[in-house]
């Protein structure tokens, strides 16, 4: 292990107990009686345990940012809490050099009855700032959060966005040597999120070592140079942020392989005439997929069971990112393709030429309705995941098909480049005409 590292996480194991960790008087008595009569026999514990972290290791040199990604329950937050000193590992060593500030939950120490300003002082102290330090940065903190007008109002009357902005703003001004951030940037509007990312980059430039736990792969890539992937409590990958994202997407698809098309996941309508037996993603050769490339064709195969014949059915497929708003909704009605569903089992296939979206996990659902009566015959929840890998081509929402052209001055060799320049000239010319 590198001795220059500011943060060392060395072969850490952490075990948790599932269920109640406390004994009632009754079970306490029973176990102590058992111990008296059978002093040598080990009383079997009814408690179940699991390992949240298994032999996980990483190290971060000063002034670097490390992203930690992984599916839910992979041990990300546990790792952060161990770093912060909130939890103690069962095995292994953790070392953090310098002042540490952990932003595990925004505004964790806020008290609703205190005003914004009072909470800044309280929360600042919780995060390890001195009163003088807070007083010096007070205006900056308030300005960053953008809540100047409400600073003397009890935070219980704040909107959740204001609450979160204030919480992050305080933590962003702690000036720690090591900053731990856990999935807190999902709050606030887009502008504030952008400001948070800028602030984190600023801190890294100032030499702060950052550990960033997130599900947002774009944010992670824009802040961190390196990342590790946790899966089942183990660090399955450690390397550059981009490679880590690829590894993560594959790990995700593996973990979803087993229950991609579980029929029980569908939201059943009462006495629905149409049942979804399965929703599968296939490649061109008809093989089932759990992840695909953004630039390659995909087929979505629906296996439906109908209890009655529907003459004019509309089949719709929707795709969402992170269970938020719909990204795209495709239905056969818009395409004016009449679909006739017969009694019995049948298959409907949607062919998609490419899915030009940024890498990540997307969730699908299926709906069927009767065009004549307007009655909904099938409506599943968004429980069909597909992992799409865009090879790190873009961040954001869309991965548009693109290429870069670089034209040197006085170089008329690149035909396409010329076209671009002509177009620009043309536009400028037209604007001049308008102006005159």
């Amino acid at each position: 292990m590198n001795s220059d590292s500011v943060v060392q996480f060395d072969r850490v194991w952490k075990q948790f107990t599932i269920g109640e960790t406390h004994d009632s008087i009754a079970s306490l008595l029973a176990s102590s009686v058992a111990r008296i009569f059978h002093p040598n026999k080990k009383v079997q514990s009814k408690r179940k345990t699991f390992w949240a972290l298994q032999d996980a290791s990483f190290a971060i040199p000063r002034g670097e940012a490390l992203g930690i990604i992984g599916p839910n329950g992979s041990g990300k937050s546990t790792a952060l809490k161990i770093l912060a000193g909130i939890l103690r590992p069962n095995r292994g060593h953790v070392r953090v050099v310098g002042r540490l500030a952990a932003l595990i939950e925004v505004g964790a120490g806020f008290h609703g009855d205190l005003t914004g300003k009072e909470n800044i002082f309280l929360n600042g102290a919780i995060l390890g700032m001195s009163r003088a330090e807070i007083r010096k940065k007070l205006d900056e903190i308030i300005a960053f959060a953008g809540i100047e007008r409400f600073i003397d109002m009890p935070v219980k009357r704040y909107s959740s966005g204001m609450y979160a902005r204030l919480g992050f703003s305080i933590a962003a001004h702690v000036d720690p040597d090591v900053l731990l951030v856990d999935e807190v940037l999902s709050v606030g509007d887009a502008v504030f999120r952008l400001r948070c990312i800028e602030r984190m980059k600023e801190l890294i430039e100032q030499g702060v070592t950052l550990v960033f736990v997130t599900h947002n792969l774009d944010q992670m890539q824009s802040i961190c140079k390196n990342a590790i992937v946790l899966d089942g409590g183990q660090a399955v990958f450690s390397g550059s942020a981009r490679d880590a994202v690829g590894e993560y997407l594959q790990a995700m698809s593996r973990s979803y392989t087993n229950h991609t098309t579980d029929v029980s996941q569908q939201k059943t309508l009462e006495n629905a005439p149409v049942k979804l037996l399965g929703l599968h993603f296939l490649n061109e050769r008809g093989e089932k997929l759990v992840w695909c490339r953004a630039d390659q064709p995909v087929r979505v195969r629906l296996r439906l069971e109908c209890s009655a014949r529907i003459d004019q059915a509309v089949v719709e497929l929707n795709m969402r990112a992170n269970l938020s708003n719909n990204l795209v909704s495709i239905n056969s009605g818009r395409s004016c393709i009449p679909i006739q569903l017969e009694r019995g089992t049948q298959t409907v296939i949607l062919h998609i030429a490419s899915l030009p979206v940024c890498g990540g996990q997307y969730f699908w659902n299926a709906r069927v309705w009767n065009q004549n009566t307007g009655a909904t015959e099938l409506d599943t929840s968004f429980r069909y995941p597909l992992v799409i890998d865009d090879a790190g081509q873009a961040t954001g929402l869309l991965c548009i098909d693109h290429r870069w052209l670089n034209q040197k001055p006085n170089d008329s060799q690149t035909v396409e480049g010329l076209e671009v320049r002509h177009l620009v000239d043309d536009l400028e010319h037209r604007e001049e005409v308008h102006a005159s």
């Binding site: 406390h22 919780i126 700032m129």
Partner: protein
């Protein structure tokens, strides 16, 4: 294990003294926020208790024959009630302090001792406020000629009495808050116990001195010499009786040490067991 040593612990606490002050200030602030009387309650609570007990023991039933308190009963009661309110109120909030701050215990790291300590700190402020009424009360009796008061040099001994009381309270507070985190029964038990304890600590009723078994058992209560010491120093102008007071000192030191070591040993499990 180095994490367990109390010297590291005190170093930790010293670094976080700012936080301790902030949390103390928060507790005071919250207790009297949205309340018309505000900090006035710090005076009103022991004062109303004093009036109730004075009414019960001097008007409702005449207990002056059995209770020889050698001073006006109201003064006797108030001198007992002020340190007692400090004791019971501080521990009453300390017992729940870790559980009430679950959010902080599971989300932020700092020495967990600050929670019960802040409870004791904020109650100490109330204690000081309530003491001011004592001055008024003594002045009243003096002016009316009911009870002549002469300030004694023993008043200077009061800080030591307070120190012993606070030490004892920190130890008990650490144990109670930790125990309540693992078993919520502790809070309920505490509520009952503190009621009983009030009547066997010489707060409003003098303790039996007849050498009976009951008197000997009650005499083991380490709070008795502390409460008595306040009256000795303020009114009687004498130092507390050595045997009893040393016993209280030893108990306080022991309970602090024992409580703190236990607390430190269990602290790493707080976040998962809360």
């Amino acid at each position: 294990m180095s994490e367990l040593s109390l010297t590291t612990a005190s170093g930790d606490l010293l670094r976080y003294r700012q936080l301790l002050l902030s949390l103390t200030w928060r507790d005071i602030r919250i207790r009297y926020k949205q309340s018309a009387l505000g900090i006035g309650w710090a005076i009103l609570l022991p004062l109303s208790m004093m009036l109730i007990f004075t009414f019960v023991f001097t008007r409702a039933i005449d207990a002056s024959k059995v209770m020889d308190v050698a001073m006006p009963y109201a003064l006797y009661a108030y001198l007992g009630l002020v340190p007692w309110t400090f004791f019971s109120q501080a521990l009453g909030s300390a017992v729940n302090s870790l559980v009430a701050n679950r959010n902080l215990v599971t989300k932020v790291y700092f020495p967990r001792e600050v929670f019960p300590l802040a409870c004791i700190g904020s109650s100490f402020v109330d204690f000081c406020v309530a003491t001011s009424v004592l001055v008024v009360l003594i002045g009243y009796y003096h002016v009316r000629g009911i009870y002549a008061f002469t300030p004694h040099a023993t008043l200077l001994f009061l800080p030591i009495v307070m120190l012993v009381q606070v030490t004892m309270m920190i130890g008990i507070g650490l144990i109670l808050s930790m125990a309540n985190l693992f078993y919520r029964d502790v809070r309920q038990l505490f509520t009952v116990t503190i009621q009983l304890l009030m009547f066997v600590s010489g707060v409003v009723v003098p303790l039996p001195q007849d050498g009976s078994l009951l008197a000997r058992v009650v005499g083991l209560n380490p709070i008795v010499p502390v409460i008595g010491a306040y009256r000795d120093c303020v009114i009687h102008g004498r130092l507390p009786e050595v045997g009893g007071f040393v016993y209280a000192c030893v108990f306080a030191a022991f309970v602090l040490l024992f409580g703190w070591i236990c607390f430190r040993k269990a602290a790493y499990r707080f976040a998962e067991c809360i």
